[in-house]
């Protein structure tokens, strides 16, 4: 046994090692629980696909509503996945252990959010151009929409994490998260959908994209910290 402990001692990892293990663990859990991940992905596809059926085949109308529809669906789909982010860890005691880690909780939370985004955000970004074709979006608008989602979906995951942490241990947390988080999503929705509309009317999208990038940077700094604070409160 002593020999074992010696090898463990030699293989001490710092913050980077702990961060990577948090990401790996959540990715592995997502692989084991594929159904959960696929639910929000297919929700996104179905919601977006319902609109052309409901609104009718008029190409101009479809092109006009496309940015809004795709972005609203992305908002809802990413919200649908939030309950998985912290609630399970809270229930089985893993979150306690995370709080008690000697590494800063803020960064470990960032790791959890990253894993969550890789699993729920990236698939939306990848499938979005295909869904945009249903609405007859031109190529450059599709590119702008995809880039916008690439910048915007991590913001959704981070803001969502704050909501998920604030509702830990609360009964009926699902509905409450929606009320807390959806208003915070509004700026991302406005500039994300706005960028696509701007691209279609031939205007520059630089302003919209810069703002989305600014949201991203701001939320990287603030959201993990706020989430960590909310988790600590939930532990009491």
């Amino acid at each position: 046994m002593e020999a074992v402990l010696d090898t463990a001692r030699e293989n001490r990892t710092g913050l980077a090692g702990v961060f990577v293990s948090v990401v790996q663990r959540d990715l592995l859990l997502a692989v084991r629980r594929r159904a959960d991940v696929l639910t929000s992905f297919f929700f996104f596809i179905i919601v977006v696909s319902l609109f052309p059926l409901g609104v009718g085949p008029e190409p101009n109308t479809l092109r006009e509503i496309a940015p809004g529809v795709v972005w609203v669906a992305a908002l809802l789909a990413s919200m649908l996945a939030l309950h998985r982010l912290l609630a399970g860890d809270y229930a089985d005691g893993t979150l306690e252990q995370l709080v008690l880690s000697a590494q800063p909780l803020t960064l470990l939370v960032l790791g959890k959010i990253l894993a969550h985004w890789l699993v729920t955000g990236i698939p939306l970004v990848l499938i979005a151009p295909l869904l945009g074709l249903q609405f007859g979006l031109p190529g450059d608008a599709l590119a702008v929409m995809t880039l916008g989602l690439l910048l915007g979906t991590p913001v959704l995951s981070m803001l969502g994490a704050i909501g998920a942490a604030l509702t830990l241990g609360v009964r009926g947390a699902g509905g409450l998260v929606a009320l807390l988080v959806l208003p915070l999503y509004i700026p991302v929705l406005i500039f994300g959908a706005g960028a696509v509309s701007a691209a279609m009317s031939g205007q520059s999208v630089e302003g919209h994209m810069s703002l989305l990038a600014a949201f991203l940077l701001f939320s990287v700094v603030v959201a993990p910290w706020a989430t960590a604070a909310a988790i600590r409160i939930a532990m009491e």
Binding site: Q24, R33, E96, L100, A102, P104
Partner: protein, 206 residues
């Protein structure tokens, strides 16, 4: 080494305990006992900073743990009421990630060996979902084998759901840890029989 000074705990409207004082020197165990709902778990959560005391403070080596922060958490191993075992991961994976969070990268063989010592040989690859209550407990306890460098163990009901053999193993681990001049705090409904070591009993009235 570990000290509680005038600790008070209020949960909801109820005052669970107040003016609680104790001091645990190196090499001694603190056995917290008392009826259900008397605040044992709350006290343990207080000791590891998960819960802020209503009044008073916890001191480690003479310093308030709130101020020590991460330095204190690096010296602490806490096994909570919930086993912190993920249903969808195998015993091996659970142990590996638990240790990774402690900043330890342990070779697969050593993990399997540790689980084997806790009677989970050949079950280490099963998802924790199919394990029994006692076996899940064993998975989380196996972490202690690698925590000998953490001088403070706080164990909430470590013996629950364990059979005689496993209880013996936990006792041996605790005794060895105390032998290193470390501190163990535990709750248990059973009388803890740790032969040859000093045990303080802290009884919460409820």
């Amino acid at each position: 080494m570990l000290q509680g000074v005038d600790l008070a705990c209020v949960r909801g409207q109820r005052r669970l305990f107040g003016n609680l004082n104790f001091s645990v020197p190196p090499g001694e165990a603190l056995w917290v006992s008392g009826p259900n709902g008397s605040g044992k778990t709350s006290l343990l959560r207080m000791l590891c900073t998960l819960l802020a005391p209503e009044a008073g403070e916890v001191r480690w080596r003479g310093e308030a743990v709130r101020e020590l922060g991460e330095a204190y958490r690096a010296e602490l191993a806490y096994l909570g009421h919930a086993a912190a075992v993920k249903d969808d991961l195998s015993g091996l994976e659970n142990l590996r990630f638990a240790l990774a969070q402690d900043g330890l990268r342990v070779p697969e063989a050593a993990l399997a060996d540790a689980l084997g010592r806790f009677g989970l040989a050949e079950r280490e690859d099963l998802p924790a979902r199919v394990l029994s209550q006692g076996q899940r407990r064993r998975v989380s306890l196996a972490r202690l084998l690698f925590c000998s460098e953490r001088p403070l163990w706080i164990l909430d009901e470590p013996l629950t759901a364990l059979d005689v053999q496993a209880i013996d193993l936990v006792r041996t681990l605790i005794a060895a840890h105390l032998g290193r001049g470390c501190v163990v705090v535990l709750t248990s409904h059973q009388e803890v029989d740790l032969s040859g070591v000093k045990v303080q009993n802290l009884r919460l009235a409820g």
